[in-house]
Symmetry: none
Subunit: 212 residues, 4 copies
């Protein structure tokens, strides 16, 4: 039986917002484990073993597996989508921003996988659904605002609903996750990025006159 690692209490050196290191490590590990093994197939006990903890310790930090999933999704969403390393929204045109994003789509494979897991879990479990709805809705609300701002700043076609575009783009991202789960081969990042740029770029003026 392996020695248990008795984790130190929150030290003052811990970064603010991640007050409890055990909790943070747990979320991190859960996010990874749910992607690797699947939410349904990952047992809490095995997760505990991975971290050299006991199940009881986990349940001391989280009310249940569902909350762990919720936090894992929140973490990955924030890390992989918000914490951008590339060009920021206000500084780039929407089409270029999105193109850039899709050029990096392979970086977000884990996020998409996690969201597929989350979706399947949510379909079956009311608690999970409620939890995840909130997490995802929050982010979407922020993006919706950004899209509306872009519409104004870039003088995009007022006849097109920014929210519909947002949903389509976001759904496309999520759908890539479904296709990846099915092992369907996807276009190369550059090809995808160019296509996105072309499609979204077409919104930058009113509807084309020359349509027969």
């Amino acid at each position: 039986m392996p020695r248990r690692l008795r984790l130190p209490p929150p030290s003052s050196t811990a970064s603010p917002g991640e007050a409890h290191p055990t909790r943070a490590a747990l979320i991190e590990a859960a996010a990874e484990a749910f992607v690797e093994t699947g939410y349904g197939a990952m047992s809490v006990r095995d997760l505990a073993h991975r971290l050299h903890m006991t199940t009881g310790a986990i349940y001391g930090h989280f009310r249940g597996k569902a909350n762990l999933l919720g936090e894992a999704v929140r973490l990955r969403l924030d890390r992989d989508l918000e914490g951008e390393d590339g060009p920021k929204y206000p500084e780039t045109k929407l089409a270029e921003y999105l193109a850039h994003n899709f050029r990096d789509y392979r970086k977000r494979r884990a996020l998409r996988a996690l969201l597929v897991e989350a979706a399947a879990a949510a379909r079956v479990d009311d608690d999970v659904r409620a939890l995840l709805h909130d997490v995802v809705s929050e982010r979407q609300a922020g993006w919706r605002k950004q899209y509306r701002d872009a519409w104004i700043a870039e003088d995009l076609d007022p006849e097109v609903d920014p929210t519909a575009v947002l949903v389509i783009v976001w759904a496309a991202e999520l759908g890539l996750g479904v296709l990846e789960a099915l092992d369907i081969s996807l276009p190369k990042p550059t090809v995808l990025a160019n296509t996105v740029q072309r499609l979204i770029g077409s919104l930058d003026r009113g509807p084309r006159r020359h349509r027969r």
Copy 2:
């Protein structure tokens, strides 16, 4: 002990290849049950009970639960996507065809749900993944050909990769399923349809002049 409902022998109206009506009824019921209850949460025993059969009977027709899922997906894919009631591909422009399709997107909720279930199952189980990969790949191959044909027939922008567009459209559809699973509210069908029409419609000529 309830009387078992013994299904009638193969009728002459059954299409060839679906010789056994029990098998067909099973697939039909499984497709419904997996959507309603979730693939993981639906037990083979309960599925058998729904059809007044026994578990053994199911295993007489299918090697396992995974094969049932595979067949269920195949069924719904053929019924909900191929067996179109609306305008056919070759007779309509691609943009209009897709717009029409998204105007009806709510009809395909069950299909999307089933594919979310399938994706999550595939992530975890190699057999399921292989099975579903084949089923979905087959359909995609057909669509790819249709897109390529449309590119030629409609003289669409040769700098845009038809397959990339196909993947984006298909992923968007699947992603709607993920969002639905999370209870995220979606745009109205007409708004979505118009947006798709606008986006895909923008491909109908060469690259816009003002692009360097």
Copy 3:
């Protein structure tokens, strides 16, 4: 790992009413185990091991632990209280019948213990309570009738409510179970029996006149 004993299917030689021998053996064993080990402390898995079965096999016969308890109580109630070996009700005076019964009270230790377990379980679990209420109520209804008949046949004091006497006698029996659980030493059977005979015997005429 011990060989599993694959029990034969219901044979035609099985006594009617105990159609399934596995089920009957299970109830028997459960009744014993719940007394020995306590309802709460007896795990379904251990019970299964005792019988060289798996937990799954048990759950094939009973919806849950609570039902097993219900059946165990029913069994012991029928065996230890109804299936009398001593004098039958209609043939003996009530007082003598009860005196005889208490003379044998030690025979029913297991029944009382089971009912104490049942009571504690019922206090906490609604299903258990409903189940046991029905089982016990049924028996009590029979006894109530017998007491009423005795009142007429033996011309007992009409000012005394037969049901109240029944409840007191039945409660006394059950209370012995509580005292036994606490290891309280009880009077010798003959002493108890005589006291009961004296008390119940006093009901055989109208209220005594000579009371000051």
Copy 4:
């Protein structure tokens, strides 16, 4: 993190022997909680939360859950049975005293419930049994003396064993607790009281003449 309610220091009004008010409050709360929720189902942690304490604090006062149960039983026994508000023993005839007591039986529902919990716990746990045996035995010893005194003072039938009567009466009380746990409906207090008066009242002279 919620503020802990730090209980006031021992006040001078506290009776000696209950020096620590935390301890007393704990016993009080435990008695209530074990009745409400059941001994087995009530977790130490939840009990601590109810009192705005921590589990550790409880274990500072009691060696374990079992001791808490023991003290709870002692408390309720003293409060609900000894601390009589009605007529006192020596001043009333035994039959009348008991009749009065049963007329109030509904007041003691919590006591009976606690004793049913205690009995079930005692059956399973040697420590609990030993603990409770002592608590209950002590009280019974007192009652035994009172019954013997009554036998002399009221010139009751010397052929009847006072202890046997005590046990029957006490068992009847406890048995009511078992029946209550099973949700069995009980006679009205007055009916029960009259019956008790009649039965015990019958002991007030030597054996009846017509007995051989």
